[in-house]
């Protein structure tokens, strides 16, 4: 009886693992096959690396190397916005956690509410605002809204409110450090784990954002990769045979589309690995055991 229960549990977990991982495995293998082989050969069969090179050549040739431009745009938007987030959110979290000033509570509450609200709800209002400011179509119309990341402020706030020994800060002040010097010499060095966390979440949120750049950018040369992928999708015959002729001309078929999707995930995977130690310590380990 007990044995069957355990076996049943393992079966459920394995089935879900398959559901979550199988599409990823398929995506990794797909660019190694030609469009025809995708249909005729086994779904997880490995084709050849030569085929990957071929797919990349087609993808890179698409619309005068625009794929590279999309990746470069995404890096520009995500990195510059995340830099602004780090410069504003870490001190803000520090200031909210360790000090007091009139209006502190309202800043915290507004930050919380906007953080919990679905980000997509703000996209059209931000579009309307940028439209009135004549910023539509400019790269700033992506970078500036991305630079507002209330979750980063909240993370920094929680971190400084719980993880920093306050006597240490008081000691620094007694030794004659001003507020700024205290932050620079004590707060910032001790805040490294939260800097890594905010970097990770901000970068990934910006990288994966589709709706905002889709709404505010017009020129396909300015697109970040997520919007670029949708552009690529409309020019392939993979899912709609009606584009057939167009697909022949641009040489974008299912393997190219799969490669484009796979490459679009690589930066997120790299950032994940870079911040993994901080992530594991911050969330999975320490976050819940008080």
């Amino acid at each position: 009886m007990r044995h069957t229960a355990r076996g049943f549990r393992s079966l459920i977990l394995a089935a879900f693992a398959l559901f979550f991982v199988a599409p990823l495995l398929w995506l990794i293998v797909a660019p190694t096959k030609s469009d025809e082989e995708l249909v005729t050969r086994g779904t997880f069969a490995f084709g050849s690396l030569h085929q990957v090179g071929e797919a990349w050549a087609h993808l890179d040739a698409f619309s005068d190397h625009i794929y590279r431009a999309w990746i470069a745009n995404s890096l520009l938007y995500a990195l510059s916005a995340t830099a602004i987030v780090l410069a504003t959110a870490i001190p803000a979290g520090y200031g909210l956690a360790l000090g007091n000033f009139p209006g502190r509570r309202i800043v915290l509450t507004l930050t919380l509410v906007v953080m919990i609200m679905p980000a997509a709800a703000l996209v059209l209002p931000i579009f309307l605002e940028l439209n009135a400011a004549h910023l539509i179509g400019s790269r700033l119309s992506v970078i500036l809204p991305f630079s507002f990341f209330p979750f980063g402020v909240y993370l920094a706030y929680i971190y400084y409110a719980t993880a920093i020994p306050h006597d240490l800060l008081d000691a620094a002040r007694v030794d004659g450090c001003g507020e700024w010097a205290t932050f620079r010499h004590i707060g910032l060095p001790l805040g490294k784990p939260v800097v890594a966390l905010v970097f990770f979440f901000s970068f990934v949120a910006d990288w994966n954002n589709f709706f905002l750049p889709y709404a505010v950018l017009g020129d396909s040369k300015q697109y970040p990769i997520q919007v670029g992928l949708s552009n690529l999708l409309s020019s392939t015959p993979s899912f709609n045979p009606a584009v057939g002729g167009g697909g022949q001309q641009v040489n974008i078929f299912r393997p190219e589309l799969a490669l484009a999707t796979l490459l679009a995930v690589v930066p997120v995977a790299i950032v994940f690995m870079l911040s993994q130690r901080a992530l594991v310590r911050g969330l999975i380990g320490g976050g819940v055991k008080e």
């Binding site: 879900f16 990823l24 919990i116 979440f201 997520q226 911050g282």
Partner: protein, 312 residues
């Protein structure tokens, strides 16, 4: 846009913070306003002001004159408004049920396991989170194409589709979108629920076991009630996020060559109002409908669940 997923993951850290913050401020608190100053323009310009501006547009007409609820009535009686609303409600309902049953169920199953096994599973479940945005939709377009999908057997026999267009038949869409959202987001929530389960004191579980409770009884009668705050948080947040659906139907619209309308969800309809018709007041009215849902959910989470504290 699903940046809220990232919010979910580290939320457990929040619980005790409020209490500690209170202690700190009992002493002479330093004036730290200058540290917060650089953040304020961003909070105002891209958090608060867009809401105010959208509300202003929603209650005025194109000449800027007061229009009362005119824009709301006008959009509500648009022939696309109610179908879009029904779509997102059905989608949200399916997605929410999937999350509530499966995320809680899987977290409970994992919590009874040896540590290493459970860590591996949590990692595998979390992996698709990297593909939020357009990438996850593209992956699923492949998965739904019977000619290349590893699940073509399931597509043919469960979904009854032999061609890609049959997989994205209008009646199936809310379920398919719910599955895509579940695929990318469930892992993050499982990590959160598992974290919440870890806060349950060991003695409690031990006591129940001595009293003769089996693993199922302990999971459902002891553990589940103790993490109900987190379950409520997930439900409220997911409800609000679900109503904002945009990326999935937009991409399926492009892949289906118009078979799926570009006004499938409410957010898409608002987008089309602004872009195709240049009717910013109507777009603002729908945006304000959706904002109201998001705001309501956020305020509910902050004031009712007690998971996030910002008091002095």
């Amino acid at each position: 846009m699903r940046s809220s997923e990232s919010d979910e993951v580290s939320a457990p850290a929040a619980t005790a913070a409020g209490a500690r913050a209170v202690q700190v401020r009992g002493r002479r608190a330093p004036r730290t306003f200058p540290f917060v100053l650089p953040y304020l323009p961003f909070l105002f310009l891209f958090g608060i002001f867009p809401m105010i501006y959208a509300a202003t547009l929603a209650f005025t007409n194109d000449t800027g004159a007061w229009a009362g609820f005119g824009n709301f009535e006008r959009t509500f009686t648009d022939y696309r408004f109610v179908p879009a609303l029904l779509h997102i409600l059905l989608y949200t309902g399916v997605w929410l049920s999937l999350l509530l049953v499966l995320v809680v169920g899987l977290a409970l199953l994992l919590h009874g396991r040896a540590n290493r096994v459970s860590t591996t599973y949590r990692f595998l479940f979390y992996l698709p989170g990297a593909l939020a945005g357009a990438a996850s939709v593209l992956v699923w377009l492949f998965m739904l194409d019977p000619s290349v999908s590893p699940g073509s057997f399931l597509l043919r026999n469960v979904l009854g589709s032999h061609l890609f267009v049959e997989s994205i038949a209008p009646g199936k869409l809310p379920f398919i979108f719910a599955m895509i959202a579940f695929w990318t987001g469930a892992g993050g929530w499982i990590v959160v629920m598992y974290g919440a389960l870890n806060t349950i004191p060991h003695d409690l579980e031990e006591a129940a076991r001595i009293d003769g409770a089996g693993p199922v009884t302990i999971a459902l009668r002891l553990k589940l009630p103790l993490i109900r705050k987190w379950v409520a948080y997930m439900a409220i947040l997911s409800f609000a996020t679900g109503t904002q659906l945009f990326v999935e139907p937009q991409l399926v619209n492009q892949a289906s060559l118009g078979l799926v309308p570009d006004t499938w969800s409410s957010n898409q309809l608002a987008y089309q109002m602004a872009f195709r018709y240049g009717d910013f007041n109507a777009a603002a009215a729908i945006a304000v409908d959706l904002l109201a849902i998001g705001l309501f959910a956020a305020v509910l989470v902050v004031t009712r669940t007690g998971l996030f504290r910002a008091e002095d």
